[in-house]
Symmetry: C2
Subunit: 234 residues, 2 copies
């Protein structure tokens, strides 16, 4: 039986052998939720970029530049980190360069894996089907918050494990932790997360609507994949 | 209100400022359970040692040398990592040098904190009282398993948070995760942990008795404290 493990923070990535694995990168609030929304609305590609300056310079090459630091849109950038900014027709056929506090760093650390896909509640079932029919063992990489573990990414890992539990075996304790938390939370994830540090931080930025949106499963059937440092649907 | 946070793996210690904090180091299976048992049975001091050779050399200085790697006693050492080895009169008044896979490394990484104490279910209420009446913010450092997060240390963190929840505020998401898991597990921790990777690993070594013992709260009222690299009760 294939195995599934969960890396609860990018700071723990050095503990995992990734070359033969499929990695699911997740940053529920809000990078990977934005990315999935953008692909569902026809974006051609998203290039994850680790630093602000590199991202800024891509503007002159025709990219839409998107950026967030500490939950806030970066001054001078075209778009921030609210998924609603990626749900319009203005991005159809465009290329985006994207840099965020946690999500794009997690993608960077995952790039040596056999396959890298982007996960969120919005495309949960599509992620699960891909993992189920793939040959590789699985590692879910939670973006966390500045290296620390967070609830919402852990819950997503638990949701994936819940759906795959009869087909893929948990490897180590982190998947058990994630699955148990999801079992507690799944009835009402918005309420459950209302105490989390990240939701409290984001609530100050008045984006409760974003949070509800990002916790809604199965809105889209797109599956962004990383190839040569660029995310596309192909 | 004071705050409490949980470092789920020693590999995440660089994310925490520790100088003003009281750190509780926990390695339920089995280093800190052994240490608490040893102090309850009259040991004078325990010197945590990171590597096997340093520990071996302390034999000629009159130390009892104790060591475990991968859950097994080290050849040529006086004692291993079963708490029952530390419950006899032979250790009364003696000094122990102790090296383990995870626990002694977690202590080493905690040494810059304002105060460092040793926690286990065996001395749970004593730990809680000390934290309650102390002035510092608290960090619980889980030893984990070779850098990865484990269930049993996380459950201990959750138990501490549960008892302190009206007096000390959780800081970040890791305490919420630990507390929720403990709430699920507390009715029967032995059964709950029977699926964990560490318990499966230890079950192969036929130490189910040790596991039950290490999950039993409030057997002793001792509180080992680290000073100048040495654990004592003073």
């Amino acid at each position: 039986m294939k195995t599934i493990d969960v890396c609860l923070s990018p700071e723990l990535m050095h503990l995992y052998h990734v070359r033969d694995r499929t990695i699911v990168v997740v940053d529920i609030l809000r990078a990977t939720s934005c990315m999935v929304t953008a692909f569902a609305h026809g974006v051609e590609s998203i290039t994850p970029v680790a630093d602000l300056n590199t991202c800024r310079m891509m503007k002159s090459k025709g990219y839409i530049i998107s950026g967030e630091r500490d939950g806030k849109k970066v001054q001078g950038f075209d778009k921030g980190n609210s998924p609603y900014e990626y749900a319009g027709s203005d991005i159809r056929g465009k290329r985006i360069a994207f840099t965020t506090t946690n999500g794009t760093q997690a993608i960077e650390k995952s790039k040596d894996a056999n396959k890298v896909i982007i996960g969120s509640f919005l495309n949960l079932s599509t992620v699960v089907k891909y993992l189920l029919f793939g040959e590789n063992n699985v590692l879910i990489v939670c973006a966390g918050w500045k290296g620390k573990v967070n609830l919402e990414d852990t819950l997503f890992a638990g949701a994936v494990i819940d759906k795959l539990r009869n087909h893929i075996e948990p490897d180590c304790d982190a998947p058990l932790i994630a699955h148990d938390l999801y079992t507690r939370a799944k009835g009402d994830m918005v309420t459950y997360l209302s105490n989390s540090s990240h939701v409290k931080r984001l609530d100050k930025l008045d984006i409760h609507k974003d949070i509800e949106y990002c916790l809604t499963p199965d809105q889209f059937d797109v599956l962004p994949k990383l190839k040569n440092g660029v995310l596309t649907l192909s």
